[in-house]
Symmetry: D2
Subunit: 366 residues, 4 copies
């Protein structure tokens, strides 16, 4: 069997359309026919060579959903169900060692120094080659944690669960949102929408989403996800915005601010929106943003504020993100704004670069 | 190379002294020369056929410490240090799947339904055969979590860390002992002494250990571990014992009671010693004890008490137990009351049966 | 000013309809005109003399909502808003000392040994007399924690928040329900419906409510609150019910079972429905139920199960319950099945005794 | 009865030695004869007028221990023991409202906006006047949480427990130090020594204390408290210091860094010493330190690091600090380097200004 993939062979150059021999599944692994793959903001950074983890050549794409083609031995999903050919599945994009300090003693496998990630740090130069989402097939390595999905759902809705969704779950869990809280989400992209949905699902009484005038249409999607208030980061002054937030939060600020934009200016301003005893969670900064000046005494110490760096996710977060989508409570279909055929992956990256996209997905032709 | 082991081939019969071909380490595994192995109360249950998990034939012994003989590939310990031949090591006695709901979503690998345990549910009938502690060599399977030990310590002190110590760590962690708490430990055996040591290490202000007249000498060891008060479960009446405990605990009872005896009568009485809002942790019941009548309203609901079943442990608990021993703060050498040569394993089991032992260990002749 | 109240002067006798001089508010207190008061199952126990806390004479009723008539000094609600005459308010039914071990060190004020509760342990014999809900007016003592309610909501919906709602919040919080969990609620009364609503709000993927054939109509209300499955405790056998639950929970049992019926038989059966690592929470037993036999090894230790006694609640739980009702996500109006004029309080108790009621409320005539 | 106090009437001027009429205790209050009062670094800031909370005139001193002279009604300590005349007592320096969002819903009374603090924001202009530690007597207001101390202990050892000790308890609790952790404490003053003692008490395997060459003698005290390694912040380069720390921490950095110096340069450097998944706790910055540039991506996000602002403390922390001192495990007597008679309070402040002091106390002449 042979299959095509779009391969990044040189930074900032069109992806190469390559045909691969599809090897049988590795022992303990799974061969999957990809149904839909997601385009993530990180892919653009990688395409530009801005992410030091990127080996060349590589098949990009760390978000995907597909159907089991063949199994390298009996395998169960994380709920204990045996995988069968034809099952629609999603999987944790990271494969961890299970033996290090972070995997075993701290139980934070997302910190595993040996973590391998499809489409991020696995090259197509080595067998089994097909280890990224921009392809017709993908090889899941032994140790990949899988979830069988119910039939009848649009698989595109679940694509983002394995990256933005899982990372948002991680940030929201670490920030401890409770029933009745006042939450702000900075940035209405996929990460922000997932963070918003988790906040609403946990019972946030107030959910303010902050965007820009240019992304006003994304804020409207946020409203459909349950945002109680929308705010423009580029309208008014820092003082007026802070006053607006205090008016919505009993004069205290937000119990949690989830920073999903990655912009240094957003970080510098958002920290000042946190209530005493609150949390400023930082899942959004995917690339270096330089030094951000922090008023340690006024904004952190005096207010007992916690800044929580949040990097990637683990299987427990992936599980939460899938459950959130499957609960049917949020219009995740509205998040998928663009669908491209697989061989137009370059166009998809281009659309993302132009910021007209909320979430674009690639669909291999059948 | 060949090595001897004491093998349980029929319940309640003397162990068979068998010679095995020592195979090379499995890929990803480690071949270890055992320095010391522990005799655990569970071994006695298994020898009698009371534990349904026991396959025959089996080399008993799930607690051991030894030196690396050969490696089936590069392997690091949980602190990230590369294992080398000759290293003195300890290991988590359980090997879990890393892929199930409990391993990944709940992060409670001790609940993994696929958990394999040396000397408990791994038969010597299958290669690599040497999978228990009552032997000169043991094969550590891939997925075994290992800790390199410092040189210069008596390895016998670390034997119990991998079973009683880890289980006590689990129970104490689940019961949330804090600085200034009032803690009771029921049963002054190895599990109870470890629970006591963890309670003292976490800053318990009061640490009451309860034993029996027959085990009075064990209570004296508990005193050396930091018990502030000793009590006899078979002196006085239930009322007088409760009054004694209330007098030591501001009239409230203990913030945590750790049940390490496994005796139904101890359980029925000990629940009544818990203060409102306190915890009754149950790591001690290793075999069925029948139904215990609980006054749900008076002893659980009305007092907001938590009963916490505790079964086995995972690598995070094993790590804590080893750290506790290595801290040097407690006289763990006093816990090792008997040392037998390996080929006298039957005598060691006999001594345990007669209850004259705190912790007995087996030492292979060099 | 004068006001009427229904007073319990002798157990199992009709309440006496008494007129009281309405004193001015105590310093730091609040005089409230009751809008609606709830009838709680505990009231029936107290009326029968089954609750040892009951002083005579007493105005029963610990659940109520009303409007501020007069203030004994400036007072803010728990969100920091200043109370004004005419404000519609709810309040935590318990007033705690703020100085004891449980109030300060453990931060569990529901365990405060000095906790005073309106309609439960405050007699009408002492000034300011009006300290229960079955009355036209109530005096809130200094130290009462208050929440100003928005206008435009039916106050009857909030009555149960201060007792069943807060206690359910406490139980659900202690049991740690997470997104994607499988939850069982035993007993579809007000406590059970609140527990269900909290479980759904926290993202339970499966929510099974267990009732009896006689209370089948209550199960239909539970369905409207989001129950995914309904089950009859008196249909089939213990084995068939357990099999049914395992079929709905990946063969494991429920991650949390919340026992809201208080029936010993329900407790004995429900414990067996908990998955390994799960929680059995017990907020439902309001009076002694005798000894319940527990298979400590099989159902608690071996499965790492936690039994969590839950008694009453504190202001943090009250806050959650009010927020839950105000979120508008659940049909709390459907919980209010009966409304009686205040002077027919006896009839209301009678209706509750006959078990035809979900939640009955008393409305003083204007 | 009359009593003397040293009163701050004008910033940066000698304290005035004033005689006051000692009023009877307020209802619910306690009149205390001060045995020892502590001089805290904050006092110096207040004396200079750098702390905006300071009302004039004021009796400084928020750390003290003394004996009950008279009671304004029955009062119990937080363990439930009834106070009697002559009892030696310590108390939480903050008095909170018990009714606000932070006191009731969040259970973080240290964030109470109505928190009153002896010697900090209570003026001597208003009755009962004696509300600070630099005096012969102090009036404890109703709502003050008290702990009866055992006889036979040098009360000076307990003075710092109510400020530095409680704040360190708060920071260590928030940073979650566990058995086997690698901890760094920046700054070997009273706050740092308490943080060190808490870290050691919780089982830190490695405890590195960082000071300066000038404070080398304080580092020697830290060694007596259990520091496993000492480091000079002004010896070598940032690179060499980081390398040294990595060599002591398995190449990862510290699981927790507790910043107790308040110096911006220390903060900027210390954040880089945290291991992935670790915590940087900030209890040390008592006055504004300006903006500190933080490499958000590299030092916070990418490493999943938490920055935890820590401001003051509550009664649960005070309790822990007293228990720590009373445990007798640490040489707190070595922390008290200077004792001045009360009327030489100016000299004590001067000594602190010159930084030759670890902890200075004031002793009223009998």
């Amino acid at each position: 069997m042979r299959g095509y993939a779009a391969v990044l062979e040189a930074f900032r150059r069109p992806l190469a359309w390559r045909e691969f021999e599809v090897l049988p599944p590795t022992p303990g692994g799974v061969l999957v026919r990809i149904a839909v793959a997601g385009i993530c903001g990180s892919d653009l950074h990688m395409w530009k060579g801005e992410d030091p983890r990127t080996p060349l050549p590589i098949i990009l794409g760390h978000e995907a959903v597909g159907r089991v083609v063949a199994l390298g031995g009996e395998k169960r999903d994380i709920m204990g169900q045996i995988l069968r050919e034809g099952d629609l599945i999603a999987w944790d994009r990271g494969v961890t060692c299970g033996a290090c300090y972070y995997c075993t003693v701290r139980k934070k496998p997302y910190l595993c120094p040996h973590r391998r990630v499809y489409g991020i740090n696995l090259s197509s130069a080595e067998p089994p080659h097909l280890l990224g989402g921009y392809a017709e097939y993908i090889h899941l390595l032994p140790g990949t944690n899988v979830l069988i999905l119910p039939e009848g759902i649009d698989p595109a809705q679940l694509v983002a669960a394995s990256c933005s969704g899982a990372t948002a779950a991680h940030a929201v869990e670490a920030s401890g949102i409770r029933l009745g809280d006042q939450v702000i989400v900075q940035g209405p992209g996929p990460l922000g929408l997932f963070a918003l949905a988790f906040a609403v699902a946990r019972g946030a009484a107030t959910a303010i989403v902050v965007g820009t005038q240019r992304s006003a249409w994304k804020l409207e999607v946020a409203r459909r996800f349950g945002a109680t208030h929308l705010m423009m980061a580029d309208v008014g002054t820092a003082e007026s915005r802070r006053a607006e937030i205090h008016a919505l939060t009993y004069g205290r600020g937000a119990t949690q601010v989830i920073e999903c934009s990655g912009a240094p200016a957003a970080i510098a301003e958002g920290i000042k929106w946190v209530a005493p005893g609150g949390v400023y969670a930082l899942p959004g900064a995917a690339v270096p943003v330089g030094d951000v000046p922090i008023a340690i005494y006024e904004d952190v110490v005096r207010k007992n504020v916690r800044l929580q760096g949040t990097w990637v996710s683990d299987t427990s977060h992936f599980f939460q993100a899938v459950e959130l989508v499957l609960s049917g409570r949020f219009p995740f279909d509205a998040m998928i704004t663009h669908r491209f055929p697989l061989h137009e992956a370059d166009r998809a990256l281009q659309a993302l670069e132009e910021r007209n996209v909320l979430k674009a997905v690639l669909v291999p032709e059948s």
